[in-house]
Amino acid sequence: MNTATTTQPTPHDAGHYPGGLMRWLTTTNHKDIGTMYLTFSLIMFFVGGLMILAVRAELFQPGLQLMQPEFFNQLIGVHALVMIFAALMPAATGFANWMLPLMIGAPDMALPRLNNWGFWLLPPAAILLTLPFTLALFGIGDGAIATGWTFYAPLSVQGGMGVDFAILAVHILGISSIMGSINIIVTIFNMRAPGMTMMKLPLFAWGWLITAFLLIATLPVLAGAVTMLLTDRHFGTHFFDAAGGGDPILFQHLFWFFGHPEVYILLLPVWGLMPHVLATFSRKPTYGYKAQVYSFIAIGLLSVVVWAHHFFTAGLPVPALFYFMFSTMAISLPLAVLFFCWIATMWKGAMSFETPMLFAVVFIVLFGIAGLTGLILADVAADAQYHHSYFVVAHFHYALFAGGIMGVMTGVYYWLPKWTGHMYSEKLGKLHFWLTVISFNLTFMPQFFLGLAGMPRRIPDYALQFAEFNAMSTVGAFILGLSQLIFAWNIWCCVRGGPKVDGRVWEGAEGLEWELSSPPPHHSWETQPVIK
């Protein structure tokens, strides 16, 4: 225990805030809101996971066994929207809510009521997104959005009311994310403890700062694109209809202007987290702090100027192909700096491999596969073969499951003792880790080969030569899905009880957040720390 927390006066409003459900509805406390974000994210992770398990079951063997193609198309699109907007993004926001004030020495987020509002927009949006499934059961409409998460016009102009629900849901999710981002930016700018200059800011905060700016710059473009889609659908405009002077490819430009930065929006908080975990378990300072900060900024800037590599087959002019190819390849340079810094942080440390460290190490390896395959996908000449195939599906799951979700798991195991004051079960954690890593690769490695052999994405049924790898992938997916129950159980048990931990938790942990007790007091830093 440290003096800052023991000498702290009793919080002035202790015992004044409501209990039960009203506590959660009305809370403005960053830890409560962070907890809600993380819980919501975990629930939606299972919702999105169930959807894709149904899909993988259908793909276990050739032929249509379980569902019709219309329903298949709805599942894949809503799976993606749920995982991106309702599982990964809220998880990162939950981390930010919980940890930023602790890390920068603030009593709370700068705008607590905005914070509450930002969270409570999420559940209605998630309901809107999935409601059409239920409505279809009662014969209303023809189900959820069936265009994939990309909303490509004119398919989405043609689609049923599931598209309208999804457009509305994306607007609400976007507003929520923008409010969260604004809060994070102003908190980092205004709430830092004296002496914490921007170049002393924890890397997690830096990663989130770049993410927040990317969200503010790109989410309005997505909102604009889907609004234009809505007016094309119902109000007679022709943004994306060639017959009325519009252009379907305009939609792809607008969508991916958001969609590509979105990848980094999901990954930057994780890249920010990694150096903390690696330094803690290597018992050694972070290597190349400044280099990492500059890389974050460089990746943030590059990410908004490379979008067209998502539709190289759409027939872009040759100079545009070259520009987008080389600018995309350029992202590998700052990314290589990050990999170098991560490994250099481990180099000559005194490493131990608790669950968060295991996840962090495997994150580096598997995210490395995503990065390297991304490099060759950027190549227009080879991309013609990879594009729209399972190769791409495998690539982005290495980026977003191994890079995103396993990064989030790293953070959960790393910070869970800080949040709850209890140690999770290391044995269950490691079991979860090994099952996840093995089944993840069993699921997605075969998909690279499926793509190379010529299997297109988003098909509910496939030719016989793809049968073996698909069967393997489905077996992997079910093990992967079931293993996550261990994760949920481990968190549940840790919240309920377990061995008590002190403020520092990990032997090698450094940083302001570890100076507070575990769990931290209601108002995190009522007493200002001073950083020299």
Binding site: I182, K200, P202, I216, G246, T286, G511, P529
Partner: protein, 59 residues
């Protein structure tokens, strides 16, 4: 991060930050919150401006 953690090549000084701790004064806190609200509105305005740029696209 602990003080001094980022000075390249330097060992970390052990001083706990609480040594120089002082309570957040209400005045300081409300000034920080006011600055945050101002910046927040500006960022919100930027979002709206980007969104409305879409009106310039011919339909």
């Amino acid at each position: 991060m602990k003080p001094g953690n980022f000075q390249i090549g330097e060992p970390m000084p052990p001083a706990p930050p609480s040594a120089n701790a002082a309570a957040f004064s209400p005045a300081d806190l409300s000034a920080r919150r006011a600055a945050s609200r101002r910046l927040g509105w500006w960022l919100g305005a930027a979002v709206l401006a980007i969104y409305l740029l879409g009106l310039l696209i011919p339909r």
